[in-house]
């Protein structure tokens, strides 16, 4: 069962996204700030990280840099979750080295497939 780490400061978002992904066959764990997210990711390597860009301690752009510097997380896809307009999101995601982004508001019917797209095909 692929593991998804959700890093998002909004408890409602975590609950709803988590519920949808659990139903789609993922094991979900979460953090509500950047530092906790980093610690969790290192302690229990996820298969994909969904990273909200607006966090109360560090923002998603800074956090992706921290995550990328951790050898244990090498190869883990990091996906930004953002309400930026597409052109800004695409530019920001490319500049900061995310693997991609999922636009807010999230379409829950598609979320499982959107996350699966970042996993090796035999994992999803």
């Amino acid at each position: 069962m692929p593991k998804v780490l959700i890093i998002d400061d909004n408890a409602d978002h975590i609950r709803m996204t988590g519920r949808v992904l659990t139903r789609a066959g993922y094991q979900v764990f979460s953090a509500s700030d950047g530092e906790t997210g980093l610690d969790l990711a290192i302690a229990d390597r996820p298969d994909v990280i969904l990273l909200d860009l607006g966090l109360p301690d560090v923002d998603g752009q800074t956090l992706v840099g921290w995550l990328r510097r951790e050898p244990v997380l090498e190869g883990v896809p990091i996906v930004a979750v953002t309400a930026w307009p597409d052109d800004v999101a695409a530019q920001m995601v490319a500049a900061y080295g995310f693997d991609g982004y999922i636009s807010k508001p999230i379409t829950f019917a598609n979320l499982g497939n959107q996350v699966a797209a970042y996993l090796p095909s035999d994992d999803a």
């Binding site: 400061d9 909004n10 700030d33 301690d57 560090v58 930026w84 800004v88 920001m92």
Partner: protein, 422 residues
């Protein structure tokens, strides 16, 4: 045309080189605190009745659906309040029973207030909450005797923008928020560099042309830790400096000024040196004006645009409104003289002018004193009260107009014209 002692006085017009208080800066009269309290179905409460934890939670609730939510932790809000001189006693929270509806904060510095973090909880919008909080903050500014209030609204937030226009704010500039991921500059660092400590950096930062965004004002830099700077002299003689704050993971408040030469070349050299020293630091720069000549250097070194804000000013003293127009019209104002007998007016104009322009402000309390100062060294701008003793205001104005026709003159009061909002 106004009347004084039953005699019709022909006031000089703009074409004759000076301005007098008029009504075009008249803004809607502000309600008092008690009127605000009785107008709305909900309460607007001073923010000092809440803990920082409660304010952080309230703020985060208002932002939850923003494109750029910028949530805060308690520590971050405490830092924000400190760095930006937010006056919690004059900030406000709108409540319906025990439910938070919205909030707004007021930064306060000499001669200027700043409205920030104004937001309404989703589901409670379009019901006057934002307006009530805004009016509370403006009433608090007025109570402090401040005639200049600024704010930045995220571009595209049409309801907020309309609200601010309704209450007398004018757009001044469009500002860009930029980010840059870690990494060295691709340009070689060429030139002679000199690193500056905070004190030296602040001194340079104070020479920047006004207006300066509240976020990057000298006071904000002064209130921030780990502020430093860098100067460069290029092989071709170009010269400039960079002032910035080095936070734990991020470089921020990156302010560049070119004192000689090409801003692109100066900016590029400064950034090359900066990222040679700090290649692993993320960077964030808020509120760069779209007309900033160093903007191409930001993009050149890898900054990308996050979003934009519209900066808006609300000027309630007519004389200041005219001065703001002069500043916007790029009229060179190096030295200004304020002649007024009312201390509050003098201080208000002096302090607000420091926000609006770079000119040195001298104060005189009589027409004779003002005239002596003028004869020693003329001023570019004169604020004169027609009621001042000695040579009366109009006499002083006539003398200055005849002897120093290049001086711009603004009457801080005129017969029959008072302060616009008092």
């Amino acid at each position: 045309m106004v009347q004084q002692d039953d005699t019709v006085v022909q006031l000089p017009s703009k074409s004759t080189g000076f301005w007098y208080p008029d009504t075009d800066v008249e803004v809607l009269p502000l309600p008092t605190f008690s009127e605000i309290a009785s107008t709305y179905q909900f309460q607007v409460i001073p923010a000092n009745r809440f803990t920082m934890e409660q304010l952080t939670d309230a703020y985060n609730q208002t932002r939850v659906d923003y494109v750029v939510p910028m949530p805060m932790s308690v520590a971050r809000l405490v830092e924000y309040v400190h760095v930006y001189d937010v006056d919690i006693d004059r900030s406000a929270v709108a409540m319906d029973g025990d439910q938070v509806l919205g909030l707004g904060m007021l930064g306060a510095r000499p001669g200027c207030t700043w409205i920030t973090r104004l937001g309404v909880v989703p589901g409670r919008r379009r019901r006057g909450v934002g307006e009530a909080v805004l009016l509370y903050l403006l009433a608090a500014s007025e109570q402090m005797g401040i005639d200049l209030t600024t704010l930045d609204v995220i571009r595209g937030n049409a309801p907020a923008h309309r609200l601010f226009l309704k209450w007398g704010f004018h757009e001044t500039r469009e500002l860009i928020i930029l980010r840059r991921p870690p990494g060295p500059s691709s340009t070689a660092s060429v030139g002679q560099f000199h690193w500056l400590d905070k004190k030296e950096a602040l001194k340079l930062a104070d020479t920047r042309p006004r207006p300066i965004s509240w976020l990057n004002a000298v006071s904000s830099l002064g209130n921030s830790d780990h502020v430093m700077g860098l100067t460069v002299t290029l092989p071709d003689g170009g010269h400039g400096w960079l002032v910035f704050q080095k936070k734990r993971f991020i470089l921020t408040r990156l302010t560049i000024r070119t004192t000689k030469g090409d801003p692109m070349a100066v900016g590029r050299a400064l950034f090359a040196q900066l990222y040679e020293k700090y290649p692993d630091m993320d960077s964030n720069m808020e509120n760069v004006s779209t007309t900033n000549p160093h903007l191409p250097a930001f993009f050149d070194v890898g900054f990308v645009e996050s979003f934009r804000r519209i900066e808006m000013y609300r000027v309630t003293h007519p004389a200041l409104a005219h001065a703001a127009r002069l500043v916007r019209g790029n009229i060179a104002l190096r030295r200004a003289l304020v002649v007024d007998t009312e201390e509050a007016t003098v201080f208000s104009i002096r302090d607000s002018m420091k926000t609006l322009s770079n000119c040195d402000i001298t104060v005189a309390t009589s027409g004779e004193q003002a005239w002596r100062l003028f004869q020693q060294q003329p001023f570019d701008l004169l604020f004169a009260d027609y009621k001042i003793p000695g040579a009366d205001g109009m006499t002083l104005v006539e003398r200055v107009r005849q002897s120093y026709p290049r001086t711009s003159i603004i009457l801080t009061s005129a017969p029959g014209v008072g302060r616009s909002h008092r």
